[in-house]
Symmetry: C2
Subunit: 344 residues, 2 copies
DNA sequence: CTGAAAGCGCTAACAA
DNA sequence: TTGTTAGCGCTTTCAG
């Protein structure tokens, strides 16, 4: 016996049927094309029609099906890619992106390179027909990013390539970050400087900081300034810190990001080295943990919020038609706290 | 003069034309339906055909258009919603979700309630035709979440409603978190306990912890145990901590999450109160900052990674057909460090 | 100013 | 086992 021809339940059955543009058209007693025009703010719609349609939209609680939209035009969805979530600095960037998008029709979703690679995430976002991408702290080669930029509007944060034309970028002046640090430490009377840097490179951010660190130290006549690189895991940082403290015996350490600096303080403390009397520590990003009394960490503020804001602004501009590349660089500032206070 | 009929450039022009299922079919010399079947692992495809198609897919670098997929069936995209990114605990949850999804065809994107409300994010995700949602630390009412659960497969983390049938949940036993804390503090010899809790409720997580705290204190005969609530901003936490320290004068404070505990340590230190001799501090979530020597914060570990892993697993099960609700509760454990060490 | 009609790339029922 | 076909909900010409 054949089953009777019922409305096929399929998988999607559980979802109560969506309100579509046709339902709105019917309710408003207009053609569905008219509804589409109102939705897109297209040219040539009378006020009366617009009002009727908007009333029906509200009444029925209609929201456009983004997937369907994506098949023809824009989705008004942007993708943002972060390397991880552990660094609280990223939440500042996100706040900036949110602020920039607040009064626009755009939404942003995040992809995190935690168990996915950046290329996989980027491909997924393209497959979802997202309108543009903000790529933060990428470690991918320039050639790859350039190709992505040809396929979809893109802005990088932390990957400064002033000559590139296929995407925009927003950056902190990372060399300047290191210069400010060295100047500050020198002024406080510290003389033997080590920079605890990152093993894997992030765009050209890390190189820039190392470059600024070494050149400024040289200019100020601080002999023996040295760069040591370590991976991002706490274990490796601990080992590196211990070795620096035992072997290089600097009186100041500049760390590429705050949590590394906090770990170095931790190691120094467990080794009985007093901060800042015997050892100054400076971090980078000025995250909320710097302010705690027990850390009181001098740090470089690169205003993640501003970076995110500008990135989102540039991206929307690109999506809406700009074709010449823009590359923004913002100036960091040093926030002095106890961890680099002494040594008059 | 009319413009000549060129291939219309439109907005999407910049994007080099996508490889579609038709291109693959042509290259493999089969019908495009055959390609779709291979893609979906559908029943009734010969090995020869499958191989030919897979070769063409690889050769052409084809990836399915998720938007088009979303119009008919599944997208294999999940949405995860976090209240914010500042709490490093969330990155543990994310790691768990990533681990669970690693060997599946599913991808997860994040929405953060920073400038968007949860309902707006949820609606966007539904509009993108995502297959399911993981909602973490929501403050929305049960009635609303229940309605969402009827429309789309959903799992909540941090919203334990054992009776609800429209979605699954994964939770830490939050009452037990507080009980463990009180037991530990009592054993260490601390007697006057205050819990520094959150003003706005997160699911029922906060209530549960408060309940466990008060009942366990009573059971152990610790008179005068008290709950104080404060908003999540550093400023408010500072004010509250100062007031507690000045007025309530407890010898131990249990904080609902680690960064609050760190702020309390900071305030205590600036007030000249020594931790743990005069004052014990216990946090919650056992985030990486607890381990730093300068904090050495006793904390409750609720294994965010496990919570995320289970949530993703349940969600995939639901998407693939399970209809009876599942509600998981995991047991926390206390990690003792210096901040609650003394008071023999 | 409004509506009719043609697809976008895919899934899944159905026919061969 | 394979191919044909009918949409999914929307944008965007193009005619009226």
């Amino acid at each position: 016996m054949k089953s009777r021809p019922v409305a096929k339940p399929r998988r999607g059955e559980r979802k109560s049927k969506r309100v579509t543009i046709l339902d709105v058209a019917e309710d408003a007693e207009v053609s569905f094309a008219a509804v589409s025009k109102v939705l897109r703010n297209a040219y040539g719609v009378s006020d009366g029609l617009r009002e009727k349609v908007n009333a029906s939209i509200k009444k029925l609680g209609y929201t456009p099906n983004t997937a369907a939209r994506g098949m023809r035009g824009r989705t008004f969805v942007l993708g943002t890619i972060f390397p991880d979530l552990r660094n609280p600095f990223f939440s500042d960037i996100l706040a900036g992106i949110g602020a920039a998008l607040e009064r626009t029709p755009y939404q942003s979703f995040l992809g995190i390179e935690v168990h996915s690679t950046a290329p996989a995430l980027i491909q997924s976002m393209i497959d979802m027909q997202m309108d543009g991408l903000i790529v933060v702290g990428s470690t991918e080669p320039e050639s790859y990013l350039s190709k992505v930029g040809e396929r979809i509007p893109m802005v990088t944060v932390g990957y400064h390539l002033p000559q590139i034309t296929t995407f925009d970028s927003v950056n902190n002046n990372d060399a300047q970050s290191a210069r400010l640090t060295v100047q500050h430490l020198a002024k406080q009377g510290y003389k033997k400087l080590v920079m605890l840097s990152l093993e894997t490179t992030i765009g050209n951010v890390i190189e820039e900081r190392e470059r600024g660190f070494l050149s400024q130290a040289e200019e100020l006549g601080l002999a023996g300034a040295k760069v040591v690189r370590a991976p991002q895991t706490l274990r490796d940082i601990q080992v590196a810190a211990r070795r620096i403290l035992d072997e290089d015996r600097p009186d100041a350490i500049f760390c590429w990001t705050d949590f590394v600096a906090l770990e170095v303080i931790s190691v120094a403390e467990s080794l009985g080295r007093s901060v800042p009397e015997e050892l100054a520590i400076v971090g980078h990003d000025n995250t909320m943990y710097c302010d705690f009394e027990q850390n009181s960490l001098t740090s470089i503020d690169q205003s993640g919020e501003q970076l995110g804001l500008q990135a989102a602004r540039l991206l929307v501009e690109r999506i809406e038609g700009r074709t010449e590349a823009q590359h923004l660089v913002s100036q960091p500032r040093l926030v002095a706290r106890n961890s680099s206070a002494h040594r008059g």
